[in-house]
């Protein structure tokens, strides 16, 4: 009847590829890849806008190479990259039906994401105080829009994974919740990849005078 079409693996006690064991799971999986395709053009448009307006209208002393705090950005990058790794470890635990490990790795992922977000808020606040604001120039508008969209994605990811964790805390891993965990981790990786581009295009290239 569609729900349990794949038999359980005798060792793990859940089906192999538990995230795609049902039609619903498969649907979620495919849909999420298409969604990420759309997200890609969303960020591509934001990057295009940013590149077009890079340093445009910014006063002397408020150009990208004057203001960016590379040390902090580097630490944030490391945090987010590590969180991608821990989310992979969580998914590996999920496929082994190791609920405890999965929860642990997810909580670490959340903590790293939260730390990243805190760093970003600190960074924005710092820029704001030296005069680089959303309305100070076209560059300011484009910068906060691109980086802020990414930050909002991180925030949404945190809320999403938290809700999943809380809701499924005592439910074990099932063919119903596994796809949800799985696509949320896909989302998390996507956020990470976008950040790599932000790090290169906004920050690294921004240091060039």
């Amino acid at each position: 009847m569609g729900h349990h079409s794949v038999p359980n693996n005798p060792i793990t006690g859940i089906p192999d590829h538990v995230e795609k064991a049902t039609l619903e799971g498969k649907n979620k999986y495919v849909a999420f890849w298409f969604f990420l395709g759309g997200e890609t053009t969303l960020f591509a448009s934001l990057f295009g806008t940013y590149i077009g307006l890079h340093n445009s209208g910014a006063k002397e002393g408020l150009r990208s190479y004057d203001i960016f705090e590379m040390g902090l950005v580097f630490i944030m990058t490391m945090l987010l990259l590590t969180s991608s790794l821990t989310s992979v470890l969580a998914m590996m635990a999920m496929k082994r039906n190791d609920v405890k490990k999965m929860k642990m790795w997810l909580i670490i992922t959340l903590a790293l994401g939260l730390a990243f977000l805190a760093g970003e808020i600190y960074e924005f606040n710092h820029y704001y105080h030296i005069g680089h604001t959303f309305t100070s120039s076209a560059f300011g508008s484009a910068f906060y829009t691109l980086v802020g969209f990414h930050g909002a994605h991180v925030l949404f990811g945190l809320l999403w994974i938290t809700t999943l964790l809380v809701r499924n805390w005592n439910r074990g891993i099932t063919v119903v919740n596994a796809p949800k965990f799985y696509v949320s981790s896909l989302y998390w990786h996507f956020i990470d990849v976008v950040w790599v581009f932000i790090f290169s295009v906004v920050y690294l290239m921004g240091m060039v005078k």
């Binding site: 053009t41 445009s56 076209a138």
Partner: protein, 627 residues
């Protein structure tokens, strides 16, 4: 299975059923009815435009009101009439064509509809605040960032909300078509309408996000003081144009490809002949979809991007003519050697070929960049895109309506009045838009609310306005005809056209909520036709009769959309009504978030229709057939 409730939930009645439905057939009807409503609204706007232009220096409307009319006409027709109606047909036909019991995400499907609907309502609410958007449907900055009028806020937020809905629809249909096909329904056996729905959905997924970004930038600029399009603060006005057209050109194909699909269903049916060059048609569809992303700059030839960019995009644009031409010839050779009959659906399909061809011809002419310097933003362009959008898309919408109406409602539109409606519309269409080519070439810019006498434009404008009157009368006939059909008690039989080729025509009338009592087994392209030719009354099945799993109805999609609607309205009114606006916005956002939370918290595993009910349905149907 133990966790699922076996008993069927109590049927909701009347309006609650429509507000909570997740059944693709009902959602299809909701889309089409809302689309038709907005078609009428956009039509009234069009008539007002043409009435204003019937003679030189007419003062029926002011320049400001005229700009609001053209903006709302374009926006309404594209986002709120044409696209929803096409998505309505996708809902009504695609799951049935591939032998599925529903779409992949019934909940998302309902949410997509309600988002579109409330986005449209928000946009049209602007009229009641005396401030409809006035910067054209293209909303070029910085005209669209002038803060004095609220109009563009309604545009940006209304389209944003309905755009989310469309994006969800796009993803849903991609997954439905990939994952929900019946056994044997290989990709290259799918009906062409399903194929075009697939490609159009892919275009939605990749083309809408740039619009989303553009609308965000516009909203940020208007509501929060950003400077993307403000040259004084380093902004660049061309960014909006790029983002808009990176979306806008694929949008044309989002509209026209499903219309192509509709014609590709109707022509073989009434020619009694399989589609000529099916494989080529599929690849031509994909190629058009792909090239659709490579040509947006042809809307911007006069922006000053330089001769190199203009030349490259000119040639890329010309390339699209090749797969489109292939399609035209394939339709012609489907007709060739067929046994043609001409119900209204077929009349529209046959009339589409030369009408759309003219639009395609002027399309190639427009791709010639240096010539476009003359055509651009003149009435020639207005003529061109109405030949494509009306002669292609609207003909397709009407053809689809006559063709699938019996499938959706179990009743048929009157053919006699349909033919009158067709001829009025066909004549009115050409009379309205053909003269506009000449107006453009003789120097009349588009979007002008009036014109001086003695510039050589009187005759053509008069003809054009008369033509619009014909189309108006035709639309009234259509509305009356639909109302009459809905009120009649005469139900049609299964396979109403007698020559149905695809799976949707194998279903009993009205279609049961679970669609297929037994999932069919597909044996080839036009599987129903193949079975008929083999002497079978209906198609083979791939499973025994059993319990059927169904999703539960839910009010949450409606609530979420109402929430976003309030949030949008609140943000817009924030400027004029201060705190009240902000409170409304926050209530709206909270409503949506709570509904989203409930959705992810409450387990909703649906219910089963027991085998006994299905068997009873099958028995009754067999009795009906025997009579």
């Amino acid at each position: 299975m133990g966790t699922h409730t076996m008993g069927m939930p109590k049927k909701k009645s009347g309006i609650m059923d429509w507000l909570t439905t997740v059944d693709h057939k009902k959602i299809g009807i909701l889309y089409i009815m809302s689309g038709l409503f907005f078609l009428l609204v956009g039509g009234v706007e069009a008539l007002m435009i043409r009435f204003q232009l019937i003679k030189p220096m007419n003062d029926f409307v002011s320049g400001e009101l005229f700009n609001q009319l053209i903006t709302m006409h374009g926006t309404t027709m594209i986002f709120l009439a044409a696209m929803p109606m096409l998505i309505g047909y996708m809902n009504a036909a695609v799951p049935l064509q591939i032998g599925a019991r529903d779409v992949a995400f019934p909940f998302l499907n309902a949410l997509g509809f309600w988002l579109f609907f409330f986005g449209g309502v928000l946009l049209n609410l602007s009229w009641f605040f005396g401030a409809a958007p006035n910067a054209g449907w293209t909303a070029y900055a910085p005209l669209s960032t002038v803060p004095e009028s609220l109009g563009v806020d309604f545009y940006a937020l209304g389209l944003q909300i309905s755009g989310f809905g469309t994006l969800m629809g796009g993803i849903n249909f991609l997954v439905t078509i990939l994952n929900m096909r019946a056994p044997g329904m290989k990709l290259m056996r799918m009906p062409l309408f399903t194929w075009t729905a697939f490609v159009a959905s892919a275009l939605i997924v990749f083309a809408f996000p740039p619009l989303t970004v553009g609308l965000f930038l516009l909203t940020f600029e208007r509501l929060f003081g950003a400077h993307f399009f403000d040259p004084a603060a380093g902004g660049n006005i061309v960014i909006w144009e790029h983002l808009f057209w990176i979306f806008g050109h694929p949008e044309v194909y989002i509209l026209i490809l499903p219309a192509f699909g509709i014609f590709s269903e109707i022509i073989p049916t009434f020619a009694r002949k399989r589609l000529f060059g099916y494989t080529t048609m599929v690849f031509a569809t994909m190629l058009i979809g792909f090239l659709g992303f490579m040509v947006w700059v042809h809307h911007m030839f006069t922006v000053g991007l330089g001769p190199v960019a203009n030349a490259i995009f000119a040639v890329a644009t010309m390339a699209i003519a090749v797969p489109t031409g292939v399609k035209i010839f394939n339709w012609l050779f489907t007709l060739w050697g067929g046994k043609l009959t001409f119900p209204v659906a077929m009349l529209y399909s046959v009339a589409f070929i030369p009408s759309f061809l003219v639009g395609g011809m002027t399309g190639v002419m427009l791709s010639v960049a240096p010539a476009d310097y003359q055509y651009h933003d003149s009435y020639f362009v207005v003529a061109h895109f109405h030949y494509v959008i009306v002669g292609g898309v609207v003909f397709g919408l009407f053809a689809g309506l006559y063709y699938w109406f019996p499938l959706m409602f179990g009743k048929q539109l009157n053919e006699f009045w349909g033919k009158i409606q067709f001829w009025l519309f066909f004549i009115g269409f050409h009379l309205t838009f053909f003269p506009q080519h000449i107006l453009g070439l003789t120097g009349m810019p588009r979007r002008v609310f009036t014109y001086l006498p003695n510039q050589g434009w009187e005759t053509m404008n008069l003809l054009s306005s008369i033509g619009a009157g014909f189309m108006g009368v035709s639309t009234i006939v259509l509305v009356v005809s639909i109302a009459a059909a809905l009120m009649s008690k005469e139900y049609v039989k299964r396979d109403v056209w007698g020559d149905g080729r695809t799976l949707e025509w194998t279903l009993p009338v009205p279609t049961p909520e679970y669609n297929f009592a037994q999932t069919p087994l597909v044996k080839g392209l036009d599987t129903y036709w193949l079975e008929k030719m083999a002497g079978n009354k209906t198609v083979s099945v791939s499973e025994e009769v059993g319990d059927i799993h169904m999703p539960n109805n839910t009010i949450l999609p409606f609530v979420m959309s109402v929430g976003l609607f309030l949030a949008g309205l609140g943000f817009i009114l924030r400027l004029d009504y201060g705190t009240v606006g902000l409170v409304v916005a926050l209530i709206g956002l909270a409503t949506t978030l709570v509904a989203m939370f409930l959705r992810s918290w409450i387990d909703d595993e649906g219910y089963y229709i027991p085998k006994s009910v299905i068997e009873e349905d099958l028995r009754l149907e067999a009795e009906k057939e025997a009579k």
